[in-house]
Symmetry: C2
DNA sequence: GGAGGGTATGTTATCGATGACATGACGACA
DNA sequence: TGTCGTCATGTCATCGATAACATACCCTCC
């Protein structure tokens, strides 16, 4: 009766079809650029879309096509702010380029229940793929049954059934950092690692150990932090009390900030008394005092590459293609001659 | 015929219903804890859910109920890493608590087309609400027609039709920082602001100006950065050349890092020659050299509060309830007596 | 004891897009 | 000229959950 009464409903394909004088199916075909649509018809459809202000309904599309055009991103609440943020940006950028949306789930470390819930939520949403940036060893296992059905790319190391992996070789990062210190003439090279649960923490530590072993040096015991600057500070207080230490390889920039602060407060100058090299090379690394020597990780690039790998299904891409490079700055120097 | 042939389909409510010996509708009611379900039936349904491994299909739910149980988060690619990451975590945490998923869209500053696309993507996804953390003045306008249909909460200042706003009073942040410097005895207090387009940059600058005016001091011209440490460094090189300056109020921590580095390189000690106070108080602020005096912003709390405000529809919550506090550290001191 | 009301459950239509299949028009080729 | 293939388009069933309506049962109260 009253055709023009306010109806808050969004226009649907049927509305477009009515205006364009075609069937809804033709609208669908035209909009997806499918074959077998007369160019004229296509233009009419596009005009009608414009006219009625049509927006496609992704729920309906997901339901009928079985694909949600969404990728899930799983992050860990702990760990560096910088890396999380950059990885997220990279994932989102690549996903956007491919017309995909990104749905995030952050999990609190170690809490298996929350983790399962987060993954389950993404699974419920029907994400077409998962990017997992949670390289916790304990976590990887538990994810397997959920991720089995969903194409998955894992960032930085952990290995899930059927998942593909992308990331820099963390062992290599450890080696590069350690070798730099060896080249400067250091022999007492300590290590402040990330939590042992993290695969990348282990791998960096292994790189450090291997490199020392190759140089015929026995590795001192590794100290362990939790990636936070505060933990770097606490471990730095310990290291400051060991006079032999002339160099420290720190597993991430944020801990390095804390460690350097502790060393300075205890009267040990960086780099004069102790050289510090770390991993990540965040934006602030160039601007602290002293500017930090660090192995660079391209988080944004990793995130983007992970999505490309994920969506490019079938196509084989060589994983872990990103290289680690060293940014040499002022926090490292030859040891003081004695 | 062959009932047990592999079918990769996820079990649906109908499958659950069959096993439980009830109708699909009853399953739906039982799962949503709806009234009028016999406790016994409820238990049977739950058991059947367990048995067949049922997971609800959010696309179908969204289609039929019109609600997607998803909130959209709009971020800006530029701006601090720390804040983005913390806001995201806060949003996601509160959303998760309420059973909502989070879909993100990052927009590149100033590019109206990308921005519209990002918002359109979220709208297409049928998000039930939007949290907008993009306080660009130029951007706010353009968002209005898209956000009109969707409940929206804006973080930090910008004001959209029908949107609610949450965040600390940025003017107040500027005042607190400036007053701290005045209290220490400074009179030549300069300001390095964020991009003029950002509402919060303007407001912090206005707070600084007002505070100086109240003290009977004419504000010097404000310098402008882009939030990055690099821009802080460049502007710091300029400030280092102006001997009168004894204090700088910097609009964010990351720029402060750059600025301090430039000052030190030019032989101006912090805080002996120049005091520096900034806004944000990121985790690294306590660990740089010197530790940074900063006005704290609780980004995580903001993000979480925004979501709560968004989902609590109908209920009136007083917006902008979060207070700014000053963390006094070693980057500020009384001016050198002359 | 029949009307009225609440509870537990089933049936049917619907959301919006798409896949599968059907149809009509046109041209090519034997 | 009749058959066949291709193109352009339409029709119908379907995805899975839910809203709206319908039904069957039991209880209470006048």
């Amino acid at each position: 009766m009253n055709e023009d009464v306010a109806r808050p409903r969004q226009p649907s394909m049927a509305d477009v079809a009515r205006v364009a004088g075609v069937s809804a199916q033709t609208v669908s075909r035209a909009l997806r650029g499918s074959a077998h649509v007369n160019p004229d018809t296509g233009r009419r459809v596009l005009a009608a879309v414009e006219q009625v202000g049509y927006r496609f309904n992704s729920a309906a599309r997901a339901l009928s096509s079985g694909r949600s055009l969404t990728v899930g991103l799983v992050l860990l609440a702990s760990g560096g702010y910088y890396s999380r943020s950059a990885v997220t940006a990279g994932v989102e950028s690549a996903a956007d380029d491919a017309g995909y949306a990104v749905s995030i789930a952050t999990i609190a470390s170690l809490d298996a229940r929350r983790m399962e819930r987060a993954l389950a939520r993404l699974a419920d949403q029907g994400v077409d793929g998962l990017v997992i940036a949670v390289p916790l060893i304990s976590v990887t296992r538990k994810m397997e049954d959920i991720t089995r059905d969903i194409p998955t790319v894992t960032l930085d190391g952990s290995r899930t059934a059927g998942a593909r992996v992308i990331g820099i070789d963390q062992r290599e990062a450890g080696r590069i950092a350690t070798q730099h210190l060896l080249d400067l003439g250091h022999r007492q090279i300590w290590h402040l690692s990330g939590p042992d649960e993290w695969l990348e923490a282990r791998q960096r530590r292994e790189g450090w150990q291997e490199c020392l072993a190759l140089a015929g040096i026995e590795a001192p015991p590794a100290l362990e932090g939790d990636w936070s600057p505060g933990s770097g500070y606490r471990q730095g207080q310990i290291i400051a009390m060991i006079p032999e230490v002339t160099a420290v390889f720190v597993a991430c920039d944020e801990m390095a900030f804390g460690l350097i602060r502790a060393l300075r407060e205890r009267g040990r100058a960086v780099p004069e008394d102790v050289s510090v090299v770390s991993v990540d090379d965040i934006a602030l690394a160039s601007y602290c005092t002293p500017p930090l020597t660090a192995v660079r990780q391209d988080f944004f690039g990793h995130g983007a590459a992970a999505v490309r790998l994920l969506l490019q299904d079938g196509v084989t891409v060589e994983p872990s293609a990103v290289e680690a490079t060293l940014s040499v700055r002022a926090s490292t120097a030859p040891p003081r001659p004695r």
